[in-house]
């Protein structure tokens, strides 16, 4: 049984204060998820308030979507119900930071960039160079599990999150893990929160291990006439003793996209040409260390590039942060550049990455779609496909292109499964989601039944982000 919208607002105001409840439709527009507008947005200021809001929602069976800076709410299936936006941006404190212990505890709504700035004062960082960097919150980065170029050297959140405080779907505050770097006390429930897209619990605080900043880093770029040559260089690096901190391969067409005004605006850097040729394939790698280490990396990378058939090699020092920011913002830049873009995320074991890209490219081309791609050396591919630019794709993407995108997605999903890989469609035009629904989280996973058990444990009433995650969890 649900109460009327007015009553809901009044009850929420009792819990968090009237100034932290939004019901004005115009002000609620930013909280829309897949064109669905909530009846209220609520901004709790403490984890206790979060728990009370969720308890209220549970009692009234109101569907809740937790949000941070709302940069990744496009990802996932359209919500089947959506009443309350749970805006966590007031939980933005750094709860504890012990530089000597390399540990950090941050509230979910704290912007990633603010955390990085605080760590930088002590010569440390978190390996979360996530897209939407200037706005993204810690909670959003963890809940979405979005990856970063630094995963090559430092792994993903699962490797450096030490513990999480959260509120489950019945409004119970709980926690998992701790604040020490080594801990096997109880079940690692915090690992479940990573990439759960707000479907299991509301993350209120995250504990991390931090890392000392490298002495000095450089960027390396090798350009190749073919993708095969670039992937061959990846293989040589993997077999070598070098330990690059980033390693990403870019297809042709990425150079122009990253050098565009759109890219400059998004990354707030000057329009200087990113040194990637628009017609060639590029392998970009970051490496760090003392003078001797950097010299060694530079010479070995250069040798491997030549052996793999590189036509050009460059080492970046001065322009590194500028180029680096754009590499980090690949997805946001692609979304801003191509409004009708469908972005697939494909993962395979590293040496099948080239095959995955080939088959995706063939499927896109046979549907008449243009494509470009970024492949992370660890085995993750972001494949962007969109109508040819002559088709005036800036206008509302037409039904014909939707059908073509669906055809390509279906084919690629099937072929990736054949490679033993994983497939999902994190981003596509909102209007296309019903048509693409079957593929948004890829083919049904054999362990889906085990996931359903967890959903029932954590969110027994099904009020957290209902219908949005894998299989409608």
């Amino acid at each position: 049984m649900t109460v009327g919208a007015q009553t809901v607002a009044a009850r929420l105001a009792d819990l968090v204060g009237v100034s932290n409840v939004i019901t004005d439709p115009a002000q609620l527009t930013p909280y829309e998820v897949d064109l669905k507008r909530p009846s209220a947005a609520v901004r709790p200021g403490t984890s206790d308030e979060v728990a009370r809001v969720v308890q209220f929602a549970a009692a009234e069976k109101l569907a809740v979507i937790p949000t941070g800076a709302r940069t990744k709410l496009d990802i996932g299936l359209p919500p089947v119900r959506y009443h309350l936006a749970l805006d966590l941006t007031r939980l933005d404190r750094i709860a504890a930071y012990d530089p000597g212990d390399l540990t950090l505890s941050v509230e979910a709504g704290c912007p990633v960039c603010r955390v990085q700035a605080a760590l930088a004062e002590y010569g440390q960082f978190l390996p979360l160079a996530v897209p939407f960097f200037e706005r993204a919150t810690i909670g959003g980065a963890i809940a979405s599990g979005v990856d970063s170029p630094l995963r090559h050297g430092f792994g993903t959140a699962r490797d450096f999150v030490l513990g999480i405080d959260f509120v489950t779907g019945d409004g119970t505050a709980s926690k998992s893990g701790g604040r020490v770097v080594k801990n096997v006390t109880g079940y690692d429930l915090h690992k479940l929160m990573i990439s759960s897209f707000g479907s299991l619990a509301v993350i209120t605080k995250v504990n991390f291990r931090t890392y000392p900043r490298p002495i000095e880093s450089r960027g390396f770029i090798a350009q190749f006439p073919t993708g095969g040559a670039a992937f061959e260089m990846r293989r040589l690096i993997a077999l070598s003793p070098l330990r690059p901190i980033t390693l990403d391969i870019f297809s042709p067409r990425v150079g122009a996209m990253l050098s565009s005004d759109v890219a400059a605006k998004l990354t707030r850097t000057h329009t200087a040409p990113v040194p990637l040729s628009n017609d060639l394939w590029s392998l970009t790698a970051g490496f760090a260390g003392n003078d001797a280490v950097r010299a060694r990396c530079e010479s070995e990378l250069t040798r491997m590039a030549r052996e793999s058939g590189a036509s050009e090699v460059a080492v970046l020092a001065d322009q590194l942060s500028h180029a680096w920011n754009r590499k980090r913002e690949f997805v946001p830049i692609a979304l801003a550049s191509f409004p009708a873009a469908t972005i697939l995320k494909i993962s395979t074991v590293p040496n099948r990455l080239g095959n995955a890209l080939d088959l995706a490219a063939r499927a896109a081309e046979s549907s008449g779609l243009t494509w470009l791609a970024m492949a992370r050396g660890v085995g993750v591919l972001y494949f962007v496909m969109f109508p040819p630019e002559s088709e005036d794709s800036a206008a509302s993407p037409g039904a014909e292109w939707r059908i073509r995108a669906v055809t390509a997605a279906r084919k690629i999903s099937h072929d990736v499964q054949g490679l033993g890989g994983n497939f999902s469609i994190p981003w596509c035009p909102t209007e296309w989601k019903p048509a693409l629904a079957e593929w948004i989280w890829g083919p049904a996973s054999p362990d889906f039944a085990q996931m359903q058990k967890l959903k029932t444990v954590f969110d027994p009433l099904g009020i957290l982000s209902p219908g949005r995650y894998v299989g409608g969890l």
Binding site: P99, S174, K182, G420, S445
Partner: protein, 452 residues
């Protein structure tokens, strides 16, 4: 009998021990247990030290020692598929010619199994740089207590959906029986430098550890042995630790040759700044292996001194090392025990060893009391009750120091979702509720080589 023990102070007698050779047999055993409503407990080498592999409520122990095959090695993608009974160091040995190894290296690695490592989310000295077992597992094949055979995770990165692999690793065999593990293999470093820093005061050693971290140096391993332990080790192994010193740090730095050399110099400088009497750098792999042999066999050495000892596994933030070691010393003196310290200093994972006489019930109670005081102090410092051995049946009574009844309720619901009848490894991790303050079993004679 052997299967009543796991190197902890606990004892529990199973009804029988069965050694399946394949997954289908494991499924059949689970079906039998289900039919007879009999508890079932998975067991690797029984080196966990926390009672995780003991049949607390009796029933069937499934020993995985015959499921010990390496099923596949994919060198180029740095992955291997192994059965749970594969011995940890056997996997590293099998892939060494490919320039690879399995990075988690518990000190018991010559005996402990990868299935056991997965259950306990084991660490080891090199956890400091390489992470614990969870960081090295991509996928699992698991027999659930309902008899279902499931695959969790994928060899490819970023499997879609909840991180079930992450949940099952470290679940201490309470959610399912792991029958196949897809692990990550790590490239062997080009260069490893092993340093032995020798100190005349424990505080100088612990302060060095704090300072190494503060200066942004991440050694591959950073172990500490105090004087008492050094003397025990030297009497047994002759690793070359000076018996008149108060403490030594055994430190590995690795990576590219250029990086390892620079780090070795930097670490040596820090230790000297903290009054290290001497810093030795192993000249070759023979010297290096000898030093590490001293470390990895330390518990065996201690076992020669006393038939019974009690080892804890507390964790503290690294900056609290000096204060904690002083406190442990004080606690030992007050209870009339010699407490040896040998531990993973770099990540603040302590292993205080309390020697006591098993024939005296009074001594045993005091050993437990001293140990509990140490753990209590770890928690006050912002730490944890176990860093790598797991909660098992030994530490469940300490869990309320860290978690609330609501937290336990959630953990129970998670357990019950996969293990609804509670037949799989019952009475572990989560306290049973009510008062459960006593340890039920008498301590056992120690003397195996299996340890942290």
């Amino acid at each position: 009998m052997l299967y009543e023990y796991d190197g902890s102070v606990e004892i529990a007698r199973p009804t029988c021990v069965v050694f399946p050779t394949n997954t289908a047999e494991v499924v059949s055993l689970v079906e039998i247990a289900k039919r007879h409503q009999t508890p079932i407990v998975g067991r690797g080498a029984g080196t966990g030290l926390s009672g995780g592999a003991l049949a607390r409520k009796g029933g069937i122990i499934i020993g995985f020692s015959r499921m010990n095959r390496i099923l596949d090695v994919d060198a180029e993608n740095q992955r291997a598929i192994v059965q749970p009974g594969v011995v940890n160091s056997d996997l590293s040995a099998a892939v060494a010619h490919l320039g690879l190894h399995f990075a988690p290296d518990p000190s018991s690695q010559k005996a402990c199994t990868i299935g056991g490592n997965v259950s306990e989310n084991s660490g080891g000295p090199h956890t400091l740089a390489y992470g614990v077992t969870a960081n090295h597992v991509h996928a699992l094949q698991v027999v659930l207590p309902t008899g279902e055979l499931v695959r969790l995770g994928s060899a490819a990165p970023d499997p879609i959906g909840y991180d079930l692999t992450g949940l099952f690793v470290g679940s201490e065999g309470t959610l399912g029986l792991v029958t196949e593990i897809t692990v990550k293999l790590t490239r062997l470093p080009e260069s490893v430098k092993t340093l032995l820093a020798i100190f005349d005061a424990v505080d100088d050693a612990t302060e060095s550890v704090v300072d190494i971290t503060a200066r942004g140096i991440t050694p591959a391993a950073c172990e500490m042995l105090d004087g008492w332990t050094i003397r025990a080790v030297e009497a047994y192994i002759h690793a070359g630790f000076p018996t008149d010193s108060a403490a030594v740090l055994l430190i590995d730095v690795d990576g590219l040759q250029e990086a390892a050399e620079a780090q070795a110099i930097a670490v040596a400088e820090v230790c000297k700044a903290h009054r290290a009497r001497e810093v030795r750098i192993a000249r070759d792999s023979r010297e290096r292996d000898l030093l590490w042999k001293g470390r990895k066999n330390a518990f065996g050495a201690v076992g020669r001194l006393s038939p019974t000892y009690y080892v804890q596994d507390g964790v503290i933030p690294r900056t609290k090392l000096p204060a904690t070691l002083r406190r442990i010393d004080e606690i030992g003196k007050r209870h009339g025990f010699e407490i040896g310290n040998i531990f993973h200093a770099g990540d603040g994972n302590l292993h205080p060893i309390i020697l006591f006489d098993a024939r005296s019930a009074e001594q045993f109670q005091r050993a437990v009391a001293a140990s509990d005081e140490i753990i209590q102090f770890c928690i006050e410092m912002g730490g944890s009750i176990t860093g790598e051995h797991g909660v098992g049946m030994e530490k469940d009574r300490l869990m309320p120091l860290l978690f609330s009844e609501t937290d336990f309720a959630l953990m129970r619901r998670v357990r019950d979702a996969y293990n609804p009848a509670g037949l799989l490894n019952p009475a572990k991790i989560i306290p049973a509720g009510k008062s459960c303050g006593e340890i039920h079993a008498r301590p056992q004679p120690t003397g195996s080589t299996s340890h942290a």
